[in-house]
Amino acid sequence: MLRTSVQNKINFPNVLEMVSSEPLPLEIEHDAGYAIQSKDLRVYYGDFLAVKDINLKIKYQKITAIIGSSGCGKSTMLRAFNRMNELVPNARVTGKVIFSGVNIYEDSIDPVEVRKRIGMVFQKPNPFPKSIYENVAWGAKINGFQGNMDTLVEKSLRRAVLWDEVKDKLDQSGLSLSGGQQQRLCIARTIAVEPEIILMDEPASALDPIATLRIEELMHELAEEYTIIIVTHNMQQAARVSDYTAFFSLEDESRSGVLVEYGETQKIFTNPDNQVTEDYITGRFG
């Protein structure tokens, strides 16, 4: 079931394939079941190697959590998945990120196209200083959405479980909402573009526990349609929401982030293979 839906998605003509000058890759076979995967990925900031040789295969329509101590490259890794790192001056990437059968770091790939299909929600809610309606509609508009915009806005807000709270004040500023509502507005804005993967960079760290809970519930619902990758500092959150967990840590001598262990959340939190993971999970360091 999973496999067929993936195949359908890939066989559809898509923008990335049209942009790509390469013949359609054979890697589709290896893609099966995985939404996106990194191969020997390294990200440098200037001379500093921030994450080193990451090989990570993200399961299709599952929630994958990336955990680890501060500064171990979790966010860097997340941003490598939709080329947001390029906005940082001096950032450089080697290795591959395979999405829809192509390496998104190929010269022929336009990062703008990548970000259309791999959306992102940020740590601090950052709605545009525009109306709630425009916040949701803008992304779809610039991506050439042709259908009924009102319907799309309503659908996106409903999926972000925000519709009932804002349906009477769509023309008010997005900044007039509470922090939790703003974050759900940002999620609605992201899904209005209809991406395939949603990257979330500590989406609940600036919110109170109740708002956090709502975001987590929302993520469960979204996982029925989307692949979600979430970076979090909160281990309970990772345990609660994710299906798979990737544990990152700092390599001692180089201070670069490395992938220590990756597997089903259940296993990582109960019976990790690696001693470092266990120490971190049980709170013995970090």
């Binding site: 947001m84 001056p89 959306g119 803008w138």
Partner: protein, 391 residues
């Protein structure tokens, strides 16, 4: 202790400002003795006031009281049949009555020693008219420049100032904002060339204005004369003169360009990065991000900075002296290729005249200039508030 010092500093600033305002008002208003070459009452035999004569009677008065040569010259300039009543009346005042200021008192004197002034006036200037004159009146604003201080106005200077400001704005706003967008959003700050450019822009903002005047003289007045004089658009016309409004506006535009760039850069830099990230995260291009999010958020700051820069330009005198503002010009500027004068030039020229009365109209012109500045700064505040509220 420190608070006292800070209060003292503030007080010094306020006192200096008050002295300035009092000084200007002191010159612009006050009692004056008006002396007539021919008393208007004599012209009409004391029956009615001269303003009430009809046009033909005024023409008759003119013919009776000026030399026939002058009368023919006026007739040649424009036949009396075609002149209106007001125009003929002005000619009578100008050529027959010839009012002159014999003596004047300052505003403070006029207010404090009124009776003494009246006594003095009767003793020393028997038979002359003592009037309280406000040099700043509607006629002062609507009259063109004139050699006669009583008739002189600032209309040509105001129009000249507005024209040069308009051209300076049209030139420097798009260029300045464009440069700011490039430097903030596109240029890589770690490249040495961009750092050199940035440092140079900061330095250019501090270059004395007269140097811009010399630059403007070399480039716009001399090198681009066919263009700035407008002769390129009129083939067949002889080479024109490059000392036009266009040259002055472009020179002032160059002068305020660095200010606009720096102000716009600061406004753009103040736009939070999270906004750009949100936009890029939705698959927006750099230009879509700038156009839809960065510029609207930065616009209030950019507008305020620009208007403040233009306010600086409106008070500039030195570069215009070099570029060649006319000091005496009585016809309104008609377009970018006209000769021109501006308010500061006019003030400068009037204050350098030996007669006291020119200092009074200079004071009145200063008030006009200050009001213009105040108006522009108010516009800046209103614009900023309007654009900030929209969000």
């Amino acid at each position: 202790m420190w608070v006292t010092i800070f209060r003292g500093s503030t007080a010094i600033g306020i006192i200096a400002l008050l002295i300035l305002l009092v000084n200007i008002a002191n010159g612009a208003f006050g009692y004056a003795m008006i002396e007539f070459e021919v008393n208007p009452e004599e012209l009409t035999e004391g029956e009615i006031a001269i303003e009430q004569l009809d046009k033909d009677a005024l023409v008759q008065v003119l013919q009776d009281n000026v030399s026939s040569g002058l009368y023919r010259r006026l007739e040649n300039d424009k036949p009396f049949a075609e002149r209106d009543h007001e125009n003929v009346h002005n000619l009578v005042i100008e050529w027959v009555v010839k009012p002159q200021v014999a003596y004047q008192w300052t505003l403070l004197d006029s207010l404090l020693n009124r009776s003494e002034i009246q006594r003095e006036a009767e003793e020393e200037f028997p038979g002359l008219e003592l009037r309280f004159v406000s040099w700043l009146d509607t006629e002062f604003i609507t009259n063109p420049q004139s050699g006669d201080p009583i008739k002189a106005g600032v209309r040509t200077a105001i129009l000249g100032s507005l024209w040069t400001m308009l051209i300076a704005f049209l030139f420097s706003f798009p260029v300045g904002v464009g440069a700011a967008i490039y430097l903030e959003e596109f240029a890589r700050k770690d490249r040495w060339i961009n750092r050199v450019i940035q440092t140079n822009i900061n330095n250019l903002a501090g270059v004395p204005s007269i140097i811009y005047g010399i630059l403007g003289l070399a480039i716009f007045v001399r090198a681009l004369e066919v263009f700035t004089s407008g002769s390129i658009f009129n083939p067949g016309q002889l080479a024109g003169n490059g000392r036009t409004i266009l040259s002055a506006g472009l020179t002032l535009g160059l002068l305020i360009l660095p200010l606009i760039i720096i102000n716009s850069q600061q406004a753009i830099r103040a736009v939070p990065d999270s906004l750009r990230q949100a936009s890029f995260g939705l698959g927006a291009t750099r230009w879509q991000t700038i156009w839809s999010h960065v510029l609207p958020s930065a616009l209030p700051g950019i507008l305020t900075g620009t208007i403040l820069a233009v306010s600086r330009a409106i008070g500039e005198t030195a570069p215009l002296v070099v570029v060649g503002a006319s000091t005496f010009i009585t016809v309104d500027p008609e377009g970018p290729f006209s000769k021109f004068t501006t308010l500061p030039i006019q003030i400068y020229q009037w204050t350098s005249r030996p007669q006291d009365v020119f200092r009074s109209i200079a004071a009145a012109a200063i008030i006009v200039l200050l009001l213009l500045l105040l108006g522009m700064n108010t516009a800046a505040v209103v614009l900023r508030n309007r654009f900030s509220k929209r969000i």
